[in-house]
């Protein structure tokens, strides 16, 4: 384990000694938000867990904006702040940072470890209690966040990750891509033993949540309120986002096929904090461009999709593509068949996997446009009802997925 620690970090750990709680902050040029995040985390730990030994671990990916120094200056001094510098930038930096946090938690024999996005500007001191108490007091082993959302916020999560994860692993973990989570000491050890894969952030969050669910660790979710996070600059292209997130979900499907293929239906998991319905804040979305993107896909990508989509699915997509924009509608059943077909194509390596997920982008945009069109006039209840219908549709189609998955 020692080899994973950056130079100088071991001495800080030795000086810190044992700690019951570890809060990890993987950072990379988060100078704008880090001071507030450090202060909130330390204040939250002091308020919620007085007398409990805690440590903050800042695992940096090689920031050039002085993030570690800003964090040190902002520290309230209520618990030790351990700085793990990351001298090398690159593709594996976020995974290395997570590895450092988890290894530090294991090293100090922590009972619980929370990992927070260092750009979570909305982080409140109360979040520490909400994320860590279910582990310390209720015996849970993984706690994911629930946020107050506006409609159409987090559509990759709502239309792919959540419904697919729910149908696969049978647990209704609403935000696997939450930007914050907490793990028990046992889950930390399990994750480290499996090996943290070289992914970037949304993919890493998916990996942690799926590892917990597939490993039958007791999972729960904590209502944290509104999430305000810095947008990456430059923003990643949609097809890259899909590749990072959906590619990870598909990879994990391969890894845990023996687990999910035995599960049917889904169940609620323990929730902590107030119920968080969708925000009623009005939202304006222009679907015309998304419909155009979908139509362009239908017009130009038939040859690519034809390599793995069933002929009737292809026909159904073609029929959707010619409809009038005002009547544009993609049935949930069709979207589910598409996602399952892409998962199977990923498994069978029908084509280069990067190309495969790029081919998903137009259909995804078509589904989002259809969803918005269906729910725009209704209240937030209409959005939640259609999301639930989609989840049930994923669950209803799961036996076919299992059957096809078994066929090489």
């Amino acid at each position: 384990m020692d080899a994973d620690f950056p130079p100088g970090f071991r001495a800080q750990l030795d000086a810190c000694g044992a700690a019951d709680l570890v809060v990890g902050l993987p950072t990379f040029n988060h100078g704008g938000a880090i001071a507030e995040v450090v202060r909130s985390a330390q204040a939250g730990l002091a308020e919620a867990f007085p007398g409990v030994r805690a440590a903050l671990v800042l695992a940096d990916g090689g920031s050039t904006d002085g993030t570690p120094e800003l964090a040190r200056e902002a520290s309230l001094g209520t618990c030790p702040l351990l700085l793990a510098p990351g001298p090398v930038l690159g593709q594996g930096a976020p995974a290395r940072a997570l590895r450092t946090v988890l290894a530090a938690a294991l090293e100090v024999d922590a009972r619980a470890c929370a990992v927070l996005g260092a750009d979570l500007r909305s982080l409140q001191p109360a979040w520490m209690d909400l994320l860590l108490s279910p582990i310390l007091r209720d015996g849970l082993e993984f706690v994911a966040p629930r946020y107050l959302r506006r409609r159409y916020e987090g559509t990759i999560n709502d239309f792919i990750v959540y419904p697919l994860t729910r149908s696969l692993y049978g647990l209704r973990l609403r935000h696997p891509l939450g930007g914050a989570f907490a793990l028990s000491g046992r889950l930390v050890a399990h994750g480290l033993a499996l090996g943290v894969p070289d992914l970037i952030r949304p993919g890493l969050e998916t990996w942690v949540a799926t590892t917990a669910l597939a490993g039958s660790f007791r999972a729960g979710q904590a209502s944290l309120g509104r999430r305000v996070q810095d947008d990456p600059d430059p923003p990643p292209a949609l097809s890259d986002l899909l590749r990072q997130v959906v590619g990870t979900v598909f990879d994990l499907m391969e890894e845990h096929a023996d687990v999910w293929s035995r599960i049917q239906g889904s169940a609620d998991i323990p929730s902590f904090g107030p119920d968080l319905p969708l925000s009623k804040e009005p939202v304006r979305v222009d679907t015309a461009r998304m419909v155009r993107a979908f139509r362009r896909g239908v017009r130009d990508l038939g040859g690519v999709w034809g390599a793995f989509l069933a002929p009737e699915t292809l026909q159904d997509l073609g029929r959707v593509g010619v409809w009038d924009p005002s009547r544009f509608y993609v049935p949930p059943d069709l979207w589910v068949r598409v996602v399952h077909a892409f998962a199977l194509a990923w498994r069978r390596r029908v084509m280069d996997r990067h190309h495969l997920l790029q081919a998903l982008t137009p259909i995804y945009l078509g589904w989002v446009a259809a969803f918005v069109g269906e729910t725009r006039e209704g209240g937030t209840g209409a959005v939640e009802a259609l999301e639930e219908k989609l989840c049930l549709c994923f669950e209803a189609h799961k036996p076919e997925l299992c059957e096809s998955w078994r066929t090489p």
Partner: protein
Amino acid sequence: MMQALLDSLYRIWTTFHAKVLLVLPRVLAALTVFLAGLAVAALARAVVRRGLKLARFDARCERSGLSAPILRARPGGSPTELAGGAAFWTTLASAGIFSLTALEMPLLDRMIEAFFLYLPKVFVSVLVLATGFLLANFLSRATLLLAVNEELPSPRLLAGGLRLLVNLLAFAMALEQLGVAGTTVTVAFAILFGALMLALALAFGLGGRDLAREFLARRRSQDAPDAQEGLRHL
């Protein structure tokens, strides 16, 4: 007179007989080699078919896009069948050439030697063509997907053009390897490629100025923070 004729006929007969006695064993040996080659070719075809079926070669070719041109050229055909056929005919042709050496004719021997010296070039050319084809398919699909997702105009035209270009390049390289009109092929390819680039440059530079401006303006407006207003993918 009659005796002279008979003597002459006898001489012709003995010469013919001697030649037949000389050549017939060679012909029989050649025939035996050929028939043995036929049996080996049939065995090679069966082994190749079996091996490729076990290796799921057809499925792999379908994924890489190699099956499509085979099906276009021969409906109902499959890469496994094609490879089996290639193994059969290559073995049979080799056996046929070996059988010719049994005839011990100097001219044929020289031709056979030349043929065997040429064979490696044929294999390299086939390899270049196959690699070019796979690369063309990969790049064409990458271009198509990028063009569709980035809203570039005429995605299929772009992808098809790139596929044609890479295939042409591979074809020119294969011909050069074979030594078939090497200079002509290289020059023709250079002229064609240059003309194509010039045409594209003119088309985009002069004809497409307005289109490019419109495209860039559209891209800028899409990238603006409020383009999708309330929608967030993550």
